[in-house]
Symmetry: C2
Subunit: 405 residues, 2 copies
């Protein structure tokens, strides 16, 4: 008897009819003789509606209370889905994140899963029940409700799959797989049959928006094979698993774009490591994730520092810097009119000249480049947001991603 | 330092502005040097909306999952109210029923509070925080979420007040107190300064709808003084407390009407006690609360049995009887076009002729009476629903309840 974890996103359960559709799919899987755990997100734009309600009351609501509020979204979903599955005659029980044993740290609104205590889930599975677990949420040791931040339901699904040693973790979503680029930007983009954890991680964190990066990380650590597929069609999607890179001849797998970034430049700051340490540790304490970082010496004693954060974190970033600089005179420039375009591929590290080829593509398309960063499996360029789509298309063409290899 | 429990109903927190209003009231109470616990219901008609969503998916949703669904209503309220109180600069923390230590039995959708473990609430109060507790909900020993049924937030408030040995339990509502009759039916009805627990119990269970009967019961057991008052005005409301009935000269305190009833008549059933036992134990097992019961012999071996239930329980009642009668031939008549009109007063038991005076009033007003039941402090008559308002007015006039005594 196989253990299968299925995760359905918010758009998959947006209304009554879709909930019924998911229920049929779950029941079909259970009737094939599988033990099924379903992880589900809040319906449609419930989370956004709740945030709007909170903002109407307070500009800066306490994060613990935001979690208390937001956690209701998934709790509604799990109850409704349980009712739909029950109506089809299949024994079922729903569990909130806390009930499902999802234990997290105390960083409200951005909590990380510390461990999954799978006892209750296993007990319910053994009684022949489909078990529905609320995604996106967990509890601290103190019993307080936490949420994992946007996309956290993927992480819940993967963490549960790891805790149960599940045979498969299916991620149902409103796209039918992972593409070589966003098909809305690049019509000739191809669906990929499989991608490596590392590639997916870069694609996800770079804005492919299909899988939450933390989920891919956890899947890689525990060797959970993910299957990203459509909740509306039966087609095979994209498998995310360990792909032996020695066998790979493909250099670049896909092109990703991320419009959710803002660039901050601090001009004339002291060029000592202590200053850098203070800036980035203060930002870390404020819960701001810094992405690209570039530093260029302006003089012997001062330097120019540029880095990027998500657009939501821009206000927090600027107020943190405000506090830090006190009465010193730093020049602070913020630009949230930028986008990050990246080429990703596990075969990249063994192939020289990939970055050069990307710059060539961008140069031919007259795309200005502000900041560059590289890793073993990606090259990212920060460009003006207006040039984002053209940059993606130029790279997709240059690396001939529309033809299967 | 006094401990004050305040309970706000759904209409008191129906929108952002009202939530802010409640927050100001709570903060004012805290700044007078009191330790404040706030119990709050779901906003406006949230609960009805959630029930509608459930019914769209399943005609008979599992009760455990209904509780999972409905509990989100209060969770939204407590989070939003906490944000509003925080925005006014007052330290505050919200707790779900389970977090607040509200332990219940396992009867989902109609659970009863077994005990309140007040440790966490006390700990938070001692840290100078206002503590908000979700009304209407609790947890079983197993960690499952339960709801207490309609109006259960009152019970939560009283049970919390009892557990904390609170000095006062204020019930804020959209009416400004308890009246001698529903002012919509009887314009000359008077606001009562105080009523006895027993009277309130009869008024509440008879449809005055201001306080949940279970809440009054618990208040009576633990001697918690309740103050029922308006959440929109500062006027004194009605105190519900132990009133020494020896001092009471008032015979009848108020007239109550309850339109939420249905009458079932079983004709030609065996006239043995065994049959009665089977019928009412089966209904009890189905969770149906039976109110009035009347039996009249039809022949030596058969009898006519009439009883009333709430209109929501009518379907369950009929299907339970369907199962019971098997292939016997009982005639089953159901009528949900009835209403119960009652006169209530703690002084009644020492005053003979009160029932006779009520029948006189109803007779003068040409109101037919189907069923009568009496207790030490009330007389109830089941009448056609169309005659309900007239019956209330007739009784109010007859007992001269518009003039203070």
């Amino acid at each position: 008897m196989a253990v299968i974890v299925q995760k359905y996103g918010g758009s998959s359960v947006a209304d009554t009819e879709k909930v019924m559709g998911v229920a049929r799919r779950v029941v079909a899987t259970a009737r094939q003789g599988n033990q099924v755990v379903v992880v589900v997100s809040a319906q449609g734009n419930t989370t956004d509606e709740l945030i709007k309600q909170a903002k109407a009351i307070s500009k800066n609501p306490p994060k613990r209370e935001m979690d208390m509020l937001l956690a209701t979204g998934e709790q509604v979903s799990i109850a409704l889905l349980a009712m739909a599955i029950d109506a089809l005659g299949q024994p079922v029980i729903s569990l909130t994140g806390p009930q499902g044993g999802i234990m997290t740290d105390t960083q409200h609104t951005k909590a990380r899963i510390r461990m999954v205590d799978g006892d209750r889930i296993k007990r319910e599975l053994e009684q022949g029940q489909v078990v529905i677990v609320a995604g996106f949420q967990g509890r601290t040791q103190n019993g307080d409700i936490t949420t994992l931040g946007r996309g956290g339901s993927d992480t819940t699904a993967v963490a549960v799959a790891a805790a149960l040693d599940a045979d498969l973790c299916e991620i149902y979503t409103d796209v039918d797989g992972v593409y070589s680029a966003d098909p809305r930007l690049v019509p000739e983009a191809r669906k990929l049959a499989e991608v490596d954890y590392g590639e997916m991680l870069e694609l996800a964190s770079l804005g492919a928006m299909i899988l939450q990066p933390r989920a891919v990380e956890v899947a890689a650590i525990y060797g959970v094979t993910l299957h990203v597929r459509s909740s509306f069609y039966m087609d095979e999607g994209t498998k995310v698993k360990e792909v032996d890179s020695v066998e790979r001849e493909i250099t670049v797998t896909g092109v990703a774009a991320d419009e959710n970034c803002a660039k901050i430049t601090l001009a004339g700051i002291p060029s000592d490591v202590n200053t850098l340490y203070h800036i980035f540790s203060a930002l870390a304490q404020a819960g701001v994730n810094v992405d690209m970082i570039v530093q260029a010496a302006a003089s012997k004693s001062t330097t120019h520092l540029s880095f990027t954060v998500t657009r939501e974190d821009l206000a927090e970033t600027l107020s943190t810097i405000e506090r830090l600089q006190a009465d010193e005179e730093w020049e602070v420039l913020a630009d949230d009119n930028v986008a990050k375009v990246s080429i990703v591929g596990a075969g990249m590290m063994t192939n020289p000249g990939v970055a050069a080829k990307m710059f060539e593509a961008l140069n031919e398309a007259d795309v200005p480049v502000f900041v560059v960063s590289t890793s073993e499996i990606k090259v990212s360029c920060l460009v003006p947001r207006a040039f984002c789509a053209e940059a993606v298309r130029a790279c997709h063409r240059k690396f001939e991603l529309d033809t299967a290899k």
